[in-house]
């Protein structure tokens, strides 16, 4: 799981162009949010496939999802050099943005991989 996380964060944030004002340049903010959204989606798909291949069921899968999301948040925060406020208007953006959308993808790919590998 750790290796996957690394590969994920590599493709994650290439263009986090921030600005250091209390005022936000809307474009940059939008761009940053998009980066979050993409990394979330990407990691949830990868995580879903891995959880499926490992054959996790029930609560374990969701625990993995939360773990991945937490790691993503941490990674994003690290990418923003822990000064989240200079990249986003609210710090909780990093935690919640794209969370539910990612869940949908996660469940789908988890099911898909699990079914292919295990139930037949």
């Amino acid at each position: 799981m750790a290796a996957n996380e690394d590969s994920g964060s590599f493709s994650k944030t290439s263009s986090e162009s921030g600005n250091d004002l209390p005022i936000f340049s809307a474009e940059n903010l939008q761009c940053n949010l998009k980066v979050i959204y993409y990394s979330r989606t990407f990691l949830s798909i990868i995580g879903g496939v891995i959880a499926g291949i490992l054959g996790l069921t029930g609560l374990m899968g969701f625990v993995v999802y939360f773990l991945i999301m937490a790691l993503t948040s941490l990674g994003l925060a690290a990418k923003a050099k822990f000064s989240i406020n200079s990249y986003f208007d609210y710090w909780n953006r990093i935690v919640f943005e794209g969370f539910l959308g990612g869940l949908m993808s996660f469940v789908l790919f988890w099911t898909f991989a699990y079914d292919i590998v295990h139930i037949f």
């Binding site: 600005n19 004002l21 005022i23 340049s25």
Partner: protein
Amino acid sequence: MVGAAEEIQLNRLESQVEHGGGGAWEYLCLVRKLKVRRSEKVLKYGLAILKDPKKRSKLGGEEWTLYEQVSLAAMDCQRLDVAKECINTLQKKFPSSLRVGRLEGMFLEAKGSWADAEKAYSRLLEENPLDQAIHKRKIAMAKAQGNVSSAIELLNKYLETFMADHEAWRELAELYVSLQMYKQAAFCYEELILCQPTIPLYHLAYADVLYTLGGLENLQAAKKYYASTIDLTGGKNVRALYGVCLCSVAINQLSKGRNKEEKDSPDLHSLAAKALVKDYKQRAPTKVSLLTTTLQNMKLLS
């Protein structure tokens, strides 16, 4: 707006192309994307590609974009023969295209036959009354003929419909400044700041206009906008530093008689003066003495 990183990339590509390292097409693409004006180079390299049938056919559909780009560059360099050729080729390919029609209008403009160009644009506008580029061409034409007031009039009419077009606001502001209509210019700059509040250029220009308008209130505002420019540029803008100094001197003179009820940020101007001195020491050491005497005369530097 061309970012610093993009400009570096552009210059690198340009020198690479110049030394025969290839990548001409990438260079042309970048020029087009950044909308910079390097007509001579574009003409030279673009034409080289167009003249080589093998290279040209490699572009596929992008070929026509290149024709357009080269013809524009040719007009800019007054190579009207080249421009005509390109436009003719495009005309054959796209007989009823608005974009080609626009090019033809611009060709007439470049030839200097204003009346014909005007007619061509009017005809195009009848079909597409909302084509922004043609409206802008008409405005530019008025300006090129030296008819600033009619350019302003047209621009105002244009902005009535396309009022979120910040480039037009900027043009209008500059036109007003050139006519010394500072109040109107100030309005335009306010509009620009509203549109893009993080661009220091607009803050600076607005401050300039306010300073020129004069009056205590305007001067104080001007100083604030110079200060915000400093903030946005990280103190690297010399004009803003000077602006702060000049504003505080002017404010001091104006409010000498009155009690200084509002003595906000007393350090700002002296800090600005110090920053200026430091900057001069780094970049133009010979002129430091000049600067220090000036600043001392303004009683900003002890």
